[in-house]
């Protein structure tokens, strides 16, 4: 196995373990189906959040979700009534979700590493170009309110 494939596999494994843990423990959401590797979500229709990291490895984690899922996650996280989330709440919570998933994935990807993680950048429905890159290896996690697409891309190891 080439080193590149090995890195990609361990990044996917880290992501596959981190996402359900964060969603179940912090958002009380269980997956409706097993996750699928691959796919190309239509990002222009989705809410997108991204965190960049550097240190022992550098790269980024980006996640994308339809607004129905973003809102239901926000309401679960903040204990709001149904359909009571404001756009600013959704931005906060989607960013926090990206931050937690990134932390969980990095801790699994390089447990002995040392990282600095940026403040999450979140855009609702019309993500700008800097949040979305064309070469993301997506993993699709299915929930009752829609799919959550996650790309965890450690780009280079120092």
């Amino acid at each position: 196995m080439s080193p590149e494939i090995s890195v990609q596999n361990s990044a996917a494994d880290a992501c596959l373990a981190a996402v359900p843990e964060v969603l179940e423990m912090m958002f009380f959401e269980s997956m409706a189906e097993a996750p699928e590797i691959g796919g190309s979500p239509r990002l222009e229709l989705l809410d997108v959040s991204r965190v960049d990291f550097e240190g022992s490895a550098r790269g980024y984690l980006v996640l994308a979700a339809p607004s129905a899922l973003s809102k239901s996650l926000t309401e679960a996280f903040l204990a709001l009534e149904l359909r009571q989330s404001a756009p600013s709440d959704v931005e906060f919570v989607l960013g926090e979700l990206a931050n937690m998933v990134c932390g969980g994935a990095l801790g699994r990807y390089q447990p002995d590493g040392s990282f600095r993680v940026s403040t999450p950048a979140t855009r609702l429905e019309r993500p700008s170009a800097e949040l979305t890159t064309s070469n993301v290896s997506w993993i699709r996690f299915s929930f009752y309110d829609g799919p959550l697409f996650v790309g965890f891309q450690p780009e280079a190891t120092q």
Partner: protein, 136 residues
């Protein structure tokens, strides 16, 4: 027995989540002071104190590590237990903060039970109530 808590996190959403999680964990809270970074926390504690501080690590202006260093260097506040709550689950980070004397390091995600257990260890006379006791 109620205890006064300070929650330090730059995200108001996360502060709200932590406050709620303490209560879900069965712990009675007295006052709950909130700060958006380490400097705001130190300003609030200038003429006040709490029984335990829950702090994020990555924050603007003053991060969790600088906050802990300042607290440990302050005679009046040096014994206040500090629990760091962070998404960073790498061993180096946890060990460096434990070396500074934090009472606990809680990685996100976490359950209310885990947070309550850590708080009860940090504040020995604080006991979590069971669900039966809470709803009697």
């Amino acid at each position: 027995m109620q205890k006064d808590v300070m929650i330090v996190d730059d995200s108001p959403a996360m502060r709200s989540f932590i406050r709620r999680t303490v209560l879900i964990g069965g712990l009675e809270m007295g006052r709950c002071l909130e700060a958006g970074n380490g400097l705001e926390a130190l300003t609030l504690l200038r003429n006040d104190t709490v029984d335990v501080i829950l702090t994020d690590f990555n924050m603007p202006v003053m991060d969790g590590e600088q906050l802990v260093r300042n607290l440990r260097g302050d005679e009046r506040l040096s014994r206040v237990p500090v629990i760091v709550i962070s998404t960073d689950s790498t061993r180096n980070r946890i060990l460096s903060l434990q070396a500074l004397g934090v009472h606990g390091y809680l990685c996100k995600p976490f359950t209310p039970e885990r947070l309550a257990q850590m708080l009860c260890t940090a504040v020995p006379d604080w006991q979590a109530q069971g669900i039966e006791e809470r709803y009697q």
